[in-house]
Symmetry: C2
Subunit: 376 residues, 2 copies
């Protein structure tokens, strides 16, 4: 196998282990794993989840929900507050599958209530500290207004409360991440206890890979929605969510230049392949990815010590290489880059995609055809 | 016209003015404008250049060259050091159009010399201080080896020296940018003077939007290759390359949440639409875009004072809004975002694309069909 331009390489063995580990944590915590499929956006990777018994999924847009519905996923939560301009599309999809949406506004709730013809499950999104979207736990008036609208609308079913504790990504250390999880648990449990008197079947749903990876268990949540854990990445490694050996994705990048005087190489692989996500160090030191060497079938071991992507522009990546490795590399070789943020990298490259082993059988789709086109 | 999810909006009037201004500077400098099409990657925007008389273009990948060749562009420079794995594709394309490539390595030069069946123009890339790719002006041995290989290969024609002074993007102020341009001019002119004794027809080619925009003229270069100037963006505004009113691109983003307590709104428009490029200020203050209001046909005026995209995740953008504007906005409205880096934004969105006015007529292509699909 070879590729002549930047391609996403997935190690399905690692994907399976990552899924098994999270499933086992969910099971031990008596929570349902409803993984977030925004990370991979791939029907093929979805099949690996299906084989492990996953039936419910999370996505972040109506388009993504439509894509996975085509591949037979019929229980989907769109974890993005309902976009009023997409009510019709959302409602149409709800006519085909079990669909849950997010609301954090009585105004939007009243609009969907007026316009839905199909059954839709509704989560109220709660902001437990990330301050992106959602109602604060104390905004009881708004919560009550939304639940009233749901109660009075035949097609809307109140599913419970949902939060994404994305502030774990900015947390300084594992202890802080666990603190965020416990704080969210306390807030969400209080809401559940209060509202289940009126709605006995409601659940609380919790997201984010760092806390679901680092915590011993997710007790107290009925459902967890991590996504990134399927591939992990350099950022998750730095947060303490995974080992380097758990990272299941790399970008194959052709080497196009050798610059011995500055101990660097240039690769075909830049911001339009990896994204501009980086890890910032002191003194303007940045990491845009770690470097791995491929053997045979695009398999890799640990990253090369002392090698990292130090800068990227649109199509170029500049890689610092240790002196002892520099002499072994030439133009025309292909090296691997472990990305800093696998969700964004997969979004950029998942049409240029293949899996080295254990390919699950899925019905024809874009990933199926691209392999044939891209890999000679 | 409306859009229900993030779409790239191009103001073709501004595009025309931006092109005219750069053409006039090139003409005054007696340089050919060979614009870099990596910024827009759009056949439709390409047609605006063609109408203004542009015939030669620059791209950053073989794929991009193939794409524009399909739209009738037949004089293309691939401004990325030749990827040895794409020799065959490159050579095939050179059989169809006038194609120039970049070399900065005698090893790669000898490989292409052995493998080309068609005429290919060759620029030697020079590193005038950016330290991304290219030979240093003082690496005379390597330059000589490459020119010897070109001389001895019937199908290779030496076109001259090319540099991209990308370090202007890190320059502190306009004076520093002009200093970089003058330094590059001195280095490139010295090379030309030396080598034109042996190769009388060689030229020197110079790139980058900041210096080509800020300098009064580009005298001393035979060719200039800026790209970003066609759209400009918030980063170029901060560098001093343009006025805010020159920015010809915005992203239409549906408003999905209003958070009065923190003077913020949430929009459907995140890292997979805008890219993660940002402008960093002190105290962790970041700008991921400025905000404009649309009137009628997605036209806009100056950005809203005191409004900016303060953070983004995969699909969400969080916008700080001044208090007086907050009350006027509701879910379901669409606001515009001026992107920080238009090249990366266009790369993410140019399949979700339309132009509000002055559409040039081009043969059917992806941009033609997407308009029909996306805009109701």
């Amino acid at each position: 196998m070879k590729t002549d331009f930047p391609a996403l390489i997935i190690d399905t063995g690692k994907v399976e282990s990552n899924i098994e580990r999270m499933l086992s944590k969910a099971s031990k915590s008596k929570a349902v794993l409803r993984p977030h499929f925004k990370t991979h956006q791939s029907a093929r990777t979805g099949e690996i989840f299906r084989k492990k018994g996953v039936e419910k999924i999370t996505v972040s847009s109506v388009q993504m929900a439509e894509y996975f519905a085509k591949y037979g996923w019929n229980d989907i939560t769109i974890a993005f507050p309902l976009n009023l301009l997409e009510i019709e599309k959302t409602d149409n999809l709800a006519g085909k599958i079990k669909l849950n949406i997010l609301l954090d506004s009585p105004f939007v709730a009243s609009e969907i209530a007026k316009n839905t013809k199909n059954n839709i499950g509704v989560f109220i999104e709660i902001d437990t500290g990330y301050h992106r979207t959602g109602l604060l736990p104390g905004q009881e008036n708004e919560i009550e207004k939304i639940t009233d609208i749901i109660s009075n609308t035949k097609n809307l079913n109140f599913k419970g409360f949902l939060t994404h504790a994305g502030h774990t990504y900015n947390a300084n250390g594992k202890e802080k991440i666990i603190e965020i999880l416990n704080d969210a648990k306390q807030k969400m449990t209080a809401l559940k206890n209060k509202w289940q008197q009126r709605f006995p079947d409601i659940i609380v749903s919790y997201g984010d890979t760092p806390s679901c990876s680092i915590a011993d268990n997710c007790n107290g949540f009925d459902e967890i929605r991590p996504g990134n854990f399927v591939y992990y990445d350099v950022m998750q490694y730095h947060l303490g969510s995974c080992n380097l050996s758990d990272i299941a994705v790399s970008v194959a990048a052709p080497v196009t230049g050798i610059y011995k005087n500055r101990s660097e190489i240039a690769v075909y692989g830049g911001a339009v392949h990896l994204s501009k996500e980086f890890i910032a160090g002191d003194n303007n030191f940045s990491i845009f990815g770690y470097i791995v060497k491929y053997n045979g079938n695009f398999c890799w071991n640990e990253p090369l010590n002392g090698a990292w992507v130090k800068s990227i522009s649109q199509e170029h990546g500049i890689v610092h290489m240790p002196a002892n490795e520099l002499g072994k590399i030439k133009q025309g070789d292909v090296i691997g880059i472990l990305p800093v943020h696998s969700c964004l990298t997969a979004n950029l490259l998942n049409k240029k995609f293949f899996i080295p082993s254990n390919e699950p059988n899925i019905s024809p789709g874009r990933h199926q055809t691209t392999r044939k086109n891209l890999i000679k």
